[in-house]
Symmetry: C2
Subunit: 289 residues, 2 copies
C-alpha cells in the first residue's frame, strides 16, 4: 500500500534502537522522520516499481532511503545559518527542539542511514547487488553537489536578489527536481526496467518536479493574499524571484497544466497500470497546500 | 604508493567540476579535502588491501570515500554550534572561509560524494558489485548514529563534566575508532579477504584506534605544558575527562605501548608483508604531533 502510513511504518524499522548513550541523535532523527509530510518521493518510487512489474517490498528500502535524504535536507535547510526557520509543517523545527548541534548530527546520521538502508541485506536480497550499487550511486548523484546540495547553494546565493527564469529553473531542477527524478528512477531500477521505461520515468519526474515548484509559488502568493491581504503581484516588490514574480499567476497556471499533461503523456509507453501516477500528477497540480 | 600526495591526487579526481553556479560548495569541499592531514585512514585501507593480496588501484575509491567522510566530520565538528573552532591544522576552518551555510553544505556534499565514490563505475569494475555493496554498508554503519555520529553526540554531551573511563572509551571507539575500523576492513573487503584476516584487521584497528586517542591526549597535555607552562596533571582541574586526567601520563604510556604491541601481534596471521603496518603502528605511537 502506497500510503504515508505504511511508508512511515517502514521508515521506523530502519532507525537504530536507542542505547542510552546516543539517544539524542536517534530522537532527533526520529522526530523529523515522523513529522508528517506527503511522502511524495517514496510514493513515486513504489508506484514506478509497481508500474514496471516490480514489487513494493523490493522497492521499499529505496523509497525509505529517499525519504531519509529528503528529511535530512529539511533539517539542515531550517538551521539558523541556512533559512533559519522555527516551524515546519506547524511543528517546531528540529534545532528548536534538540538544539543546533543535534540537528546537524541528526541530519548527518539520516543521510548516512539512507545509504545503509539502500545497501541493506534486505535491499540486496530483494534487488541484487548490482541494482543496489546503481541505486546508491544515483541517490548520491542526485543528493550531492551536482544535485540537491548544488540547488541549495544556488538558492542561498540567490537570496535577496532578482534572478532569471533560467537560473530559477536550474536551481529547482537541482534542489527539488533531482530527488524527484531519483524517486521515479529508483522504482524503475528496483523492477529492472529497460531504458525506454527509465526515460519515460525521467520525463514524468522532470515535468511533475517543475510543476510542483510552480504550484508551490502560486500557493505561497495566494496564502499571502488570504492572510496578509497583499494583492496578487505585489511580490514583484519582494527581492526574491519566484515563478509568479517572473511569469505572472496566469502563465504559471498555464505552465503547470502543460507540464502535468506532458507528465501524463510520458506514461504512454506503459501498456496499463498508469492510473495511479496519472491521478498523482493531477493531484499535485490541483493541491491547495 | 601509499603517500599523502598520491591519495590527495586520487581524491581530486572524484570531485565534481566547477560549473559557475555551484562553485561555492565545490570550493568548500576542495578546501577541506586538500587542507593536509596524515591520511591515516586511506593509508590503512591501501595497506590492508595489499597485505591481503589485493591492489591499491581497486582499493583507492574506498580509501578516498573514507577520507571524504573523515573530512566532512571535521567540517561539521568545527562549526560554531559544535566545537566552534577557527583553526584546524594551522588554517582557518571551513566556515571561517566560506561561511556557515557553505560549510554545512560542503560537509553534506562530501558525505554524499563518499558513497558516490565507493559505488562508482570504477569501484564496481575493479571490485565487483557485491563488494561495493558490503563496503558502502560498512561505511554507513561506521559513519552513522551507531558509529562516528553517535560518538560525536556522546562527546557533545560529555562537555564540561567528568565522565568514566568506560564512557570515554566507548565514545572514542565510536567517534574515531569506527572509521579506523572501517579503513582496515575496507582494504580487506577490496582484496576478498577471509574472516580470519578480517578479524585480525579489526583487532589491529581497534588497538591502534584507541592508542591513537591516548597519544592525542598525552600530546595535548605536553603541548599545553610547553606553550602555557602548565604543570602535567593540572588538567585534572579541567572539566573535561581525558585519558591523562583519568589514568595519569605514565599509565597512558604503558597502555599505548601495550595496545601497539597487541596491534602488531594481530598481524601474525599474515605470512609476510606486515612490515609497513608494523611500522605504521609504531609511528602512530611515537609521533610528536
Amino acid at each position: 500500500m502506497k500510503t504515508p502510513e505504511t511508508i512511515q511504518e517502514a521508515l521506523l524499522t530502519f532507525l537504530p534502537a536507542r542505547d542510552g548513550l546516543t539517544d539524542t541523535v536517534i530522537e532527533s532523527m526520529t522526530y523529523s522522520l515522523t513529522a508528517g509530510g506527503k511522502r511524495v518521493r517514496p510514493i513515486l518510487t513504489l508506484a514506478f516499481a509497481e508500474l514496471c512489474g516490480g514489487t513494493e517490498e523490493a522497492a521499499m528500502p529505496f523509497a525509505c532511503a529517499l525519504e531519509m535524504i529528503h528529511t535530512y535536507s529539511l533539517i539542515h535547510d531550517d538551521l539558523p545559518c541556512m533559512d533559519d526557520d522555527e516551524l515546519r509543517r506547524g511543528k517546531p523545527t528540529n534545532h528548536i527542539v534538540f538544539g543546533e548541534a543535534a540537528a546537524v548530527l541528526g541530519g548527518d546520521a539520516l543521510l548516512t542511514l539512507a545509504f545503509e538502508t539502500a545497501l541493506s541485506e534486505t535491499a540486496m536480497k530483494l534487488n541484487g547487488a548490482e541494482t543496489c550499487v546503481r541505486v546508491g550511486r544515483l541517490l548520491a548523484e542526485c543528493a550531492g553537489a551536482r544535485g540537491m546540495v548544488g540547488g541549495q547553494i544556488i538558492d542561498l546565493e540567490s537570496e535577496n536578489r532578482r534572478i532569471s527564469l533560467e537560473r530559477l529553473e536550474t536551481m529547482d531542477r537541482k534542489k527539488t527536481g533531482a530527488l524527484i527524478r531519483a524517486a521515479c528512477l529508483l522504482g524503475c531500477l528496483s523492477a529492472g526496467a529497460d531504458d525506454v521505461r527509465m526515460q519515460a520515468a525521467q520525463e514524468y519526474a522532470d515535468c511533475i518536479g517543475l510543476a510542483f515548484q510552480i504550484v508551490d509559488d502560486v500557493l505561497d502568493v495566494l496564502s499571502d493574499e488570504a492572510t496578509l491581504g497583499k494583492p496578487i503581484g505585489s511580490d514583484k516588490d519582494n527581492q526574491k524571484s519566484t515563478y509568479v514574480s517572473l511569469l505572472g499567476i496566469e502563465e504559471c497556471r498555464k505552465r503547470t497544466a502543460a507540464l502535468t499533461e506532458r507528465a501524463i503523456k510520458s506514461l504512454s509507453v506503459f501498456d496499463h497500470g498508469t492510473e495511479f501516477l496519472t491521478d498523482f500528477a493531477k493531484k499535485l497540480r490541483d493541491r491547495n497546500k
